[in-house]
Symmetry: C2
Subunit: 747 residues, 2 copies
């Protein structure tokens, strides 16, 4: 850091954050309780130690430790012992889950010349972890179909809907072909799903150097970006349909739980699909003929990208052995003194595709640091009011399996007792990312106001606000100036999904990032050396992550009244509705413009007469929709939320029994937004505010039932989904009004 900047910063800090304390009472506390709480948090923070995290990361990344591996079992046992040593009741909860083990992986370019893909990642002398690691899973896609297919190759860009439309305009069909898609712009599982829907018989996915290789910066080991042989492994289970053990949907995969036959499983990818490196993709892309791809399809390889089909022809052979393996979830519990039946759960998975330094160990060691510090506080006599639990999940990588099985297994208990779930996963260096239930938005804003950036020593929310002020997006969305920073709605991709979207438990997912970039995700190169050189040297942001989640956990555990509030929810719904109406309007305008341009002949006149490209096909006209029921429900939600806030400004003065009643109801609030019969096409997902996109994967769709009906031009379904979504909002309004009535009742 240039010294001029450092001194500037120090003077700015003094200017901008004189006290760095919190003057107003914290949510859920009165003024006095606030002081005591902040003192407790200060003790907690003082007990955090980056060296612990560094040591643990070395230990937990020493070997590949995917579900079913010996290392994974050993790590779970070690963690259980640690929790016990720190004073926790700890247990290992085992599920027997079904996962594929790749037995044959073969990819050959058979024409116009022969090339055998290497399908392996190069060991690097600079990083000992990469040299002959024992028990390493090779690059593959878990839950791909097996098969032996040979066909002409077609390059399909990122393999998304628009890409297939562009191909269709060029008269190119992937029916019976094998597609080659770039990683990126969607969750990986979407690519073979769409390819199969278009008739492809196989799919390859490679990481273009433009996206996370030398097109971004120096490659490993010189820099953090993807080595030419690096391959992103990963699951292609149909997660937007349902995560978890493929043979035991909706039930914990215990001994004796009835299993589906493999043929009955709905969540397997229907065609063979394999991830490859750009070293392996290069000869394939070079062998493609046919038209030159549209320029925005080009990556960073040093030649013009062609679409094909052919003359490149490839043979892809994949076989898997399905094995039932033990998944070891580690659960640790510190029982609450005052309200032991109200549980706060903090979780992070422990299985990795390989060494998994960033994913998931960087988040896991922060969780362990929190648990250790809380254990020390408890040992020093600070017993917490509510029960705090820690979970280290197994089998997240193949499909959120460990957490999902546990949630499905304990659904009733969790619905009764679990107040909130705080998830982390991979961490890095930079700005705070907070996603989750908007009833926790204010809590997390208050936490971010006192959690300091470890390098700049300013509150992490101030760094984020500064970034938003400098970004066009922040300015456009007017986020930078808001009194509360909106937290991000959650899609999927980590273990919060079963809690939030299946059970309706208020959930959070947090990390730091944006300044510790990498192309190591799910490759052999996600190692301790890589992480500590490029992503978070000395794990200083690991400590910040522990501080952030520890403070949130402590407030949830200690607040006299649970620190939920609903104005953040009402604001979020308002934003989602604005966004939804804007998207519908944009879709309508685009359809109208396209129709007009088709009718007036613009395409026919403007397209290159020597290029084989047709005008786009017309779309269905987009009708006007009645969003008024949602708008009215949102208005009532805003009013009820405001009233609830007014009635709970001094929670400590409320009678204890009323607080206990309110706490129970607050813990049930998120569930009001869920419906037992779930979202269209995918009943496992029950939340009507947030879901992963059916055709985007991890990325969130807010108001998903309505939004996806519109996006997919199922316009006749919109009214019904508006009604179902409105019913969920109304249920929350009623729920809050019920609490307000209790608060307003004479006492």
């Amino acid at each position: 850091m240039p010294s001029r900047r450092l001194s500037l910063l120090l003077s700015l800090s003094a200017l901008l954050f004189p006290g760095l304390g919190h003057s107003a009472p914290l949510l859920g506390f009165d003024a006095q309780g606030t002081e005591a709480q902040l003192a407790l948090e200060a003790r907690f923070k003082a007990a955090l130690d980056g060296k612990d995290q560094d040591r643990w990361m070395q230990r937990l990344t020493a070997q590949p430790h995917h579900v079913g591996s010996a290392a994974g079992a050993e790590y779970a046992a070690w963690m259980k012992a640690q929790f016990e040593a720190w004073g926790y009741d700890a247990e290992i909860v085992r599920y027997d889950v079904s996962v594929p083990v790749p037995t044959v992986r073969k990819l050959t370019l058979t024409a116009p010349e022969r090339f055998e893909a290497r399908l392996e990642e190069a060991p690097l002398a600079e990083d000992p972890s990469t040299v002959a690691p024992e028990g390493l899973l090779p690059p593959y896609h878990a839950f791909s179909a097996a098969g032996d297919v040979e066909a002409e190759l077609v390059f399909v860009n990122y393999g998304l809907k628009d890409d297939y439309e562009a191909l269709a305009r060029r008269g190119i069909d992937v029916e019976g072909k094998i597609v080659l898609a770039k990683y990126g712009r969607s969750w990986r599982g979407i690519k073979p799903k769409l390819a199969a829907e278009h008739g492809a018989i196989g799919a390859l996915i490679y990481s273009d150097p433009a996206d996370d290789g030398y097109g971004q910066g120096d490659t490993y080991p010189a820099g953090p970006y993807k080595h030419e042989t690096g391959v992103q492994r990963g699951s292609v289970m149909d997660l937007p349909l349902r995560p978890g053990d493929i043979l035991t949907p909706y039930a914990g995969a215990r001994e004796g739980t009835p299993r589906l036959a493999l043929e009955e499983v709905e969540t397997l990818t229907p065609i063979p699909v394999l991830p490859i490196s750009y070293a392996d993709a290069t000869p394939l892309l070079k062998a493609l003929g046919g038209e030159v791809a549209p320029k925005d399809w080009f990556g960073q390889l040093p030649f013009a990208y062609h679409i094909g089909p052919g003359p490149a022809q490839v043979r892809l052979t994949l076989a898997f052995r399905y094995e039932t393996v033990p998944a070891y979830n580690v659960l640790a519990r510190l029982p609450g003194a005052r309200q032991p039946d109200q549980w706060i759960l903090r979780g992070n998975h422990h299985d990795g595709w390989n060494h998994g330094a960033a994913d998931p160990i960087s988040g896991l060691v922060a969780l362990l640091a929190e648990a250790k510090a809380l254990g020390e506080l408890a040992a020093a006599g600070y017993r917490l009011d509510r029960t705090v639990m820690y979970a280290a999940w197994d089998a997240e990588e193949p499909g959120l399996i460990g957490s999902t099985e546990w949630v499905e297994d304990h659904a009733a208990e969790l619905r009764a007792h679990l107040v909130a779930y705080l998830n982390t996963d991979g961490n890095s260096r930079g700005f705070v990312n907070i996603g989750g239930s908007h009833s926790l938005q204010r809590l997390m804003n208050e936490v971010a106001e006192v959690t300091l950036d470890p390098l700049l020593n300013v509150p992490v929310d101030q760094r984020l606000r500064a970034k938003l002020r400098l970004s066009k997006d922040g300015e456009d969305r007017q986020l930078a100036g808001q009194p509360e920073l909106p937290i991000e709605p959650l899609g999927s991709g980590s273990d919060y999904s079963p809690f939030l979207q299946h059970l309706g438990i208020a959930s959070l997912n947090t990390s730091f990032g944006g300044e510790g970039p990498s192309g190591s995700y799910h490759t052999l190169y996600d190692t301790y050396a890589h992480y500590t050189r490029f992503r978070d040297p000395e794990l200083r942001y690991g400590v910040a992550l522990a501080e952030l989640n520890g403070r949130a956990t402590l407030r949830l555990a200690q607040a006299p009244l649970l620190p939920f509030e609903f104005e953040g929810v009402a604001d979020a719904v308002d934003r989602f509705l604005n966004d939804l109406e804007g998207a519908a309007e944009k879709q309508r305008a685009a359809q109208q413009t396209r129709a007009a341009r088709l009718k007036d002949g613009s395409y026919a006149l403007a397209l290159d007469p020597l290029a084989a490209i047709a005008p786009p096909t017309p779309e269905r006209p987009v009708p006007y929709f009645n969003f008024a029921p949602l708008r009215n429900a949102q208005a009532d939600l805003a009013a009820a939320a405001k009233r609830y806030g007014e009635l709970t400004t001094e929670p400590e003065s409320l009678p204890e029994s009323l607080r206990a009643t309110l706490d129970r109801r607050l813990a049930q609030a998120e569930a009001q937004l869920t419906a037992e019969d779930g979202l269209p096409r995918r009943p496992w997902f029950r939340h009507f505010l947030y879901a992963p996109g059916f055709y985007t994967g991890y990325g969130v769709k807010t108001l998903p039932a309505v939004r996806e009906a519109i996006e997919e031009a199922q316009y006749e379904q919109v009214e019904g989904e508006v009604a179902r979504t409105t019913a969920r909002l109304r249920a929350l309004v009623d729920h809050i009004e019920g609490m307000n009535a209790l608060l307003e009742a004479p006492r």
Copy 2:
């Protein structure tokens, strides 16, 4: 073309363009005259022949033919003979001009390893023109400084103002260094000019494959884009200051004209600069260390781009011999029958950097085709009313020298007699491009309405309107729906510059393009084979270009009243003012935002604390400007223009003597927009509506005196330049009102 599209098009044509004739009278004609004129144009069109153009292109691209070459002299003599054969008075007007001949070109990477740049373009067996062509000029920059410099290398992206600001924020200075810049985003001469202003002692410019190589499509000979050894030669004379022979500013370089000493020349580039291929640039870029460049600086080479400085060190040695060589302008004349003293001039240069198929022969053969067809009409008894002249300029490439010397030599005559100058240069395939004086906008719209696209058989303006309807830019600027398509204002880069911007002669510059792309510009690969394979097979758009310019020439030659009008000028000034005010507002808002973000510490908080990057430096606050004088002048111009239009709806009914008077005044109208003392810093450029950008080169700046004062933060000069520009608009208003008074006078 897919047959489905063809049939769709045919039915659309029938629907949209039933008559394809022009029902309203043409500008400058009455109804009857219109009919006769269109009949004449139809005869002209029938005489055009693509096979002629193809044959001539083969002949005129057989050898490299730069100024001073034997081939150039022979081509000039052949063209003179052709013109004479077609019935013209033809002459060769010779100037003796000073040009550099490169004698030493050497570029060596001297550290960290040694690499000798090849500095030559590879011959390709697939294109015989490229194999051992005699008399080929090697890749170099004409009017670079000579020198022998060695220094660390710094990569400066495109080498523009923003790039140096980005370097400064990273603490990187090019003082005493050699810069490596990418071609593109500005005229080439701007890059060494800015580098020198920042203290660099040498400059290299290379074409990144992202911009016109494999990042755009297949490379030559497989496709049209730049071969890895291809180098864009070109002039780096300070053209935005003044074009033409460097030793004889403002005067024709005849025998006996006083010459400057070389030391007195202001238009040489002050540091040595050399263009190189990406094959030669690759080892240099790879050898650069230091920080990774910002991602948007990356090109398409297969590695992460670093900035340096060093460890790459290069030695650049350049020497030139200045020679005085003959520049042969070919001038041909068909004297007018009715108004021989009113001249219409059509021009295109004939010198090329090499074989020059696209640049300039593709435009030149269209000009020759026009001349031949007009000669045939004349021979058949169709004598034109005004004098039509054709020019084939020499020495355009080193700095518009042939045309500039002729213009400077004949300034008084041209001011007295030249009505309009119609320029072409390189042509290609696709959409019509029309740039020029807005007093000719309606004429060119009317011409474009009846000139047919040779592949789609629809009027070329309809294709352009269709493209605008489909483009966001067209929609945003509301161009697609306008009754008249705005023509583009002209910057520089071809021979219209001395006519338009030095003398104030109404000028045009036209071409087709957008569907025949290429990376061959100024390389060895700009050959007949390349052009006819990739750019305009069978030269069908060459015929369209001849039709377009032939019709315009015939209307200018035949209209009973010269086809000028001024509502197009008033509209253009209105657009320029809107644009100027918008740009000033944007500059003001950006300055204010930056100042606010500097003050509130956003940069200090949001910048990566581990990256050596400083906040930007504050800028001068942008005051509010008084544009009212310009706005008032524009309003008066609009009123005068409207009145002129109303008074000239039936030109043929005006007395012949009045028409003759008006014609003389119309020919002087453009000159009202010029001032004898010219633009700030560059008096040779006298036009106050259009100029090449002082810091962008070819790209146009409208209302340049005011605009550049604002852009360059010379805010105290704005008021004065507003006054000077207003005076030019007022002069035009008075000029038109003078004509209106004549038209309104009782007769």
